[in-house]
């Protein structure tokens, strides 16, 4: 028999990392750096777990990188059913930061990539 459905509706904080979400709309990737101890974080954080300070500044990340690994998602989860196949990757940029991204172009481990956005997420374009 059918069980009673349980529908979860969520509200997620967006003001907390507003600069990041705004950056994505402009094709830029921002993250936070601790003003006190200089630790660069990605993803951005409100608080520095190393020196306990919460005094962070926003910095723009370099858009040059290398593709470290990737996977082509064929069977999509709930919420992504209407997307065509997408490639999830991890890129390491020239600041040494590792970012999850969607890969555009012919993915191969070790290829140079240019980091940009599609307005909603980080995109890494494989440079031929």
């Amino acid at each position: 028999m059918d069980g009673i459905p349980l529908l979860f509706k969520y509200t997620v904080p967006d003001k907390l990392y507003e600069k990041f979400w705004e950056g994505l709309k402009k094709g830029e990737i921002y993250t936070t750096k601790c003003k006190k101890c200089g630790t660069l974080y990605y993803p951005p954080r409100k608080d520095c777990e190393k020196c306990m300070s919460s005094d962070m500044e926003w910095v723009k990340l370099s858009n040059e990188g290398i593709l470290m690994t990737y996977s082509i998602v064929k069977q999509k989860p709930q919420g992504f059913e209407n997307y065509s196949d997408y490639i999830v990757g991890i890129a390491r940029n020239s600041d040494g930061v590792n970012l999850m991204c969607w890969v555009k172009g012919e993915a191969k481990v070790g290829k140079k990539v240019r980091l940009t956005t599609d307005g909603q997420r980080v995109i890494c374009e494989v440079i031929e």
Partner: protein, 387 residues
């Protein structure tokens, strides 16, 4: 550990798509078997720890109904969770309760009813098995995707192939065909794996463990109780290792092995005062075929990058150098998250007692290990047992 701890009773339900029972009857199957195996009744149990992820079932707070159904009301004050390592987190808690002196006989029940939701919902729950905010929300990662990121990098750095990974699945199905409690009893070939539907490349359907329902129960006791109850073949807990890693997978900096598993293994070997080469039997967390290859390396059976060789040479078959997953592994025995870690202890106990029937491995030193990973190395437990 302050006090020695032994396994004195084990039970394992039939794994599979169990739409014939709710989570309660499913739990009872392994609880009953463990009580009969130890010759105890519920009144002998001091505390029960219930491991269940529960997200995919209708009973999202399963401990009270399971406890009531199994006649353990008043003895189940805690439910634990560590994603796919939930069963080991229950064992870990139970062992600690005895080692600390708080209890003498503790039952750990692991149970999950995972097939009550549809696959798309299940993938969306699994995709949250990392970091919702920075991963799933933007990138639609599924649980297979996380392991696929490791597989792609392992292939690029060490030349591991899709055929190599397929060998792990073929081995799992071969042994599961001899296990009447396994989710799958069919044998498969390398070609079947390579031709199966791509889920998250390079991971295909037959590289993946199934979404299973099942339960497993282990009863632990202190050394004094083992003597008092005159237990014939206690299986001693010799080493317990645990660790964890970042939720955001990109932050780890390398993707060819699970640092949490390496750290947990080092702690377990140190406590047991043995080396990886002393292990004669291991249950490893083969949720995907690449995970088995990485486990050989992370546990130190071979150096990093050589895992596929061990598989190709047949060294992890029955009576090989270190037999691995002779009950069919997560891949074919099944992977009901809450039960998996305790089912590993069930398997190791059966092997060390020489009660494993057609898949009985031949031991010299009677030393075995369980390796249970939660998430993609977000949690790891490695435990060492001997007779």
């Amino acid at each position: 550990m302050n006090r020695k701890v032994a396994v004195i009773g084990v039970g394992n339900s039939k794994f599979g798509k169990r739409d014939d029972v709710t989570i309660k009857e499913l739990a009872w199957e392994s609880v009953k078997e463990a009580l009969e195996d130890s010759d105890l009744t519920q009144k002998d149990i001091d505390i029960t720890v219930i491991g269940s992820t529960a997200y995919r079932g209708t009973e999202i707070y399963p401990a009270p109904p399971v406890s009531e159904y199994c006649g353990l009301v008043g003895k189940s004050p805690i439910r634990v969770e560590a994603a796919c390592a939930t069963g080991s987190s229950a064992a870990f808690t139970a062992i600690n309760l005895i080692a600390s002196g708080l209890a003498d006989i503790v039952m750990a029940i692991g149970v999950d009813k995972m097939t009550e939701v549809d696959t798309s919902t299940s993938l969306a729950i699994g995709g949250r098995g990392g970091n919702y905010y920075w991963e799933f929300h933007m990138y639609g990662t599924t649980f297979p995707t996380y392991y696929a990121l490791y597989a792609t990098r392992h292939m690029a750095l060490f030349g591991t192939t899709e055929e190599d990974m397929a060998l792990a699945s073929v081995k799992a199905h071969k042994y599961a065909s001899l296990n009447e409690k396994a989710h799958f009893r069919n044998k498969i070939t390398v070609e079947d794996v390579l031709k199966s539907r791509v889920i998250s490349w390079p991971i295909k359907l037959l590289d993946s463990s199934p979404i299973s329902d099942g339960s497993a129960t282990v009863i632990f006791a202190s050394e004094e109780k083992v003597r008092e109850l005159k237990i014939d073949t206690p299986i001693w807990v010799k080493g317990v290792g645990y660790s964890s890693d970042t939720s955001y997978i990109a932050a780890r900096g390398e993707w060819v092995g699970l640092e949490a598993a390496r750290d947990a293994a080092a702690k377990a070997y140190k406590m047991a005062k043995i080396s990886p080469l002393d292990i004669e039997y291991a249950t490893v967390h083969d949720c995907f075929s690449i995970a088995e290859i990485m486990a050989y390396e992370d546990l130190g059976f071979v150096e990093k990058g050589k895992g596929a060789e061990l598989l190709r040479e047949g060294q992890t078959e029955k009576d090989g150098k270190v037999a691995v997953n002779l009950f069919g592994g997560l891949k074919a025995k099944g992977h009901p998250l809450g039960a998996t870690g305790l089912s590993m202890i069930y398997e190791v106990t059966k092997q060390l007692r020489e009660e494993a029937g057609p898949v009985q491995h031949s031991f010299k030193r009677y030393v075995a290990l369980t390796h249970n990973v939660g998430g993609t190395g977000h949690y790891a437990y490695v435990m060492i047992f001997n007779r």
